[in-house]
């Protein structure tokens, strides 16, 4: 790992810790960072910092703020990691979960539950359906795009577009038949928000994110070789087919888990790995952990802004990330295009 890479990782960890402490304290009920830390240490049996002084401050932190900040951290980590992986797997810096059908599949799963009032798994029904939908759509795309035991990237992307178009039609149908109540739920989910964060959601997402990131880290060196192309990667000892299949499942896991509890939060998986690449270079050994941390940082800070920008009102986070992310992405394209080589 280069000096620059190590510095980036350390810097992101420090920034993330500070952002989490601030985000937990700021809101309608203000708790200073030292009291936030004091409350956490108190639960661990260490009483060296002051407890929250605001009325019911400790309860507000543990019932509302902490699950929300932790879910933001996990969802951001999942989205950042999924984006970096997807760009590596497809050897294309423009790849994003929408391309291979994860988002569309997840949306169909969640919408179907809302519209038909399915609640077999209680409050977990929508998230689980979203995750399964994302995975199913991804596997269908992957299955259709394979021929002769191999997958051409162009075919994969084209099939992804076809599946996304079909999913769009299904979502339109579901919207057409749904009640007003269901429509409101769908709209909320579609805009993306952390307002429904609970400890249950945090515990449900954690294993997906931990496993997904661990597998991603294990395969990071092979992703560097895949940048040379499929044949050269194989010549260097990479089992390209297996690598791609494993990572597509991991991408669906991460993107599905990231989307399930919070709806569609766009552009995090696209912009974060780009920024990291500009700072540390393209090596996935640094890119993947840095994108995990950077994604978490962006969503924690983004959620803080979304719920404090307008007093007593909450802006949907997905709208905010798209508003900032899309113009930023245009700028990134221009900047990279004008540099020597650009994107071949």
């Amino acid at each position: 790992m280069t000096r620059r890479g190590r510095l980036t990782i350390v810097g992101l960890v420090v920034a993330l810790v500070i952002a989490c402490l601030l985000a937990a304290g700021i809101g309608q009920l203000q708790v200073p960072p030292n009291e936030v830390l004091g409350s956490i240490l108190h639960r661990l049996g260490i009483d060296i910092l002051p407890m929250p002084t605001a009325p019911r401050g400790d309860d507000a932190l543990w019932l509302v703020r902490f699950p929300r900040v932790l879910l933001a951290l996990l969802v951001g980590a999942a989205l950042g990691c999924a984006g970096a992986l997807m760009q590596g797997v497809f050897g294309n810096p423009l790849a994003e979960p929408g391309v291979i059908g994860v988002s569309s599949g997840a949306a169909i799963g969640a919408f179907a539950c809302i519209v038909f009032g399915i609640a077999a798994l209680g409050s977990w029904t929508v998230p689980v359906a979203a995750f399964l939908g994302g995975l199913l759509a991804t596997l269908i795309v992957y299955g259709l795009a394979r021929s002769g035991g191999r997958t051409e990237v162009v075919t994969l992307v084209l099939v992804g577009i076809a599946v996304t178009a079909f999913a769009g039609a299904l979502i339109g149908m579901l919207t057409f038949v749904s009640s007003d109540d269901a429509l409101r739920s769908i709209a909320f989910w579609n805009l993306g928000s952390l307002a429904r964060a609970t400890w249950d959601a945090v515990f449900a997402v954690t294993p997906f994110v931990v496993v997904g990131v661990a597998v991603a880290m294990y395969y990071a060196p092979q992703l560097d070789l895949l940048a040379l192309g499929e044949r050269p990667a194989r010549h260097l000892g990479v089992d390209v087919e297996r690598l791609r299949l494993v990572l597509i499942v991991v991408i669906a896991l991460l993107a599905g888990a990231g989307v399930a509890f919070t709806g569609i939060i766009a552009f995090v998986g696209l912009v974060v790995p780009h920024l990291i690449r500009l700072v540390t270079g393209p090596s996935h050994r640094i890119l993947i952990p840095a994108s995990v941390l950077g994604g978490a940082l962006v969503v924690v800070v983004g959620d803080l802004i979304a719920r404090t920008l307008i007093e007593n009102q909450e802006l949907p986070l997905g709208v905010l990330t798209a508003l900032i992310g899309a113009p930023f992405f245009f700028w990134l394209i221009r900047r990279t295009r004008t540099r020597a080589g650009g994107w071949a």
Binding site: G91, A227, R231, L236, G237, D239, G281, S283, A340, A344
Partner: protein, 279 residues
């Protein structure tokens, strides 16, 4: 880690390291190789033994099947009939990683998806050795390969920003750093100037002298004649000539294969065959 677990892990990831190549042993054995692509026989019944320590030039007109033969030996192109053996074992019996320790391949065009530096790209050639004793040689092999291909000054440049000729040399350096007993080079000199063409063929020659089996697909017949020990001529997917440059490069054979009248002269100083189209 628990001892039993550690040994199970090693067993699962056991990698057969290659023996140092000894000259004369058959590295690649091709028997009755037939490749049919889209209903068209691109290769028909090809027999070929490639030995360690020899520099073999594969020549022939466009569409003769040179790259397909190289691709089949590299394990990229599935064959319809016949067999390919690498170091005495059928190609399919080798694991991807074990194969990567035995043969390296330079393709005609290498594009890279992200702006890795030249030094990063060359170091990628060492990846099959990760976790083996060969890992200790990484720095030395990378430095030597970059030195030998004249790209030391390009080390910190981003690969996509290089010219065609610079890319070709950086890609060759990656393949050399892989340090394998079999080296398959598809037109390694196509993008290069005269000086670097000679440099690359000189590197291939050195490797062969060190016991490596080197296959070079070449269009420049004069260059093939000057550097190769052995010439194999392909025509419409069949081997139509196999021998020393002096035996193979005759006016009759070349004129027929290339469907163009060809003159073969003897160089007044070196005595090597000079091959010219009759104009």
């Amino acid at each position: 880690m628990d001892f039993r677990l550690a040994s199970r892990w090693r067993e699962m990831h056991h990698i057969d390291l290659p023996q140092p190549p000894d000259a004369g042993r058959v590295a690649v054995g091709v028997r009755g190789l037939t490749v049919v692509l889209g209903g068209h026989a691109v290769l028909s019944d090809v027999d070929l033994d490639i030995r360690h320590g020899e520099l073999l030039a594969l020549v022939g007109p466009n569409g003769a099947g040179k790259s397909t033969l190289l691709g089949a030996v590299a394990g990229d192109v599935a064959h319809t009939a016949g067999s390919i053996q690498i170091d005495g074992l059928p190609l399919a019996d080798w694991g991807t990683r074990e194969l990567a320790l035995r043969r390296s391949v330079l393709l005609q065009r290498i594009e890279i998806a992200f702006p890795f530096t030249v030094a990063d790209v060359v170091r990628m050639g060492r990846s099959p050795w990760a976790g083996t004793d060969g890992e200790e040689d990484d720095d030395r092999e990378v430095a030597a390969a970059m030195e030998r291909t004249d790209i030391v000054e390009l080390a910190t440049r981003e690969y996509p920003s290089l010219s065609g000729g610079e890319r070709a040399r950086a890609a060759l350096a990656r393949v050399l750093a892989q340090d394998t007993g079999i080296l398959l080079l598809d037109e390694p000199t196509a993008a290069l100037d005269l000086h670097h063409q000679e440099l690359v063929m000189g590197v291939a020659r050195e490797r062969a002298a060190a016991g490596v089996a080197v296959v070079v697909v070449a269009h420049d017949l004069g260059m093939a004649a000057a550097w190769a020990d052995r010439i194999v001529v392909l025509e419409l997917g069949r081997v139509v000539g196999d021998g020393t440059p002096r035996d193979i490069f005759t006016e009759a054979l070349l004129s027929r294969v290339y469907q163009h009248s060809v003159e073969v002269l003897e160089h007044p100083r070196t005595g090597l065959p000079l091959i010219l189209p009759r104009r």
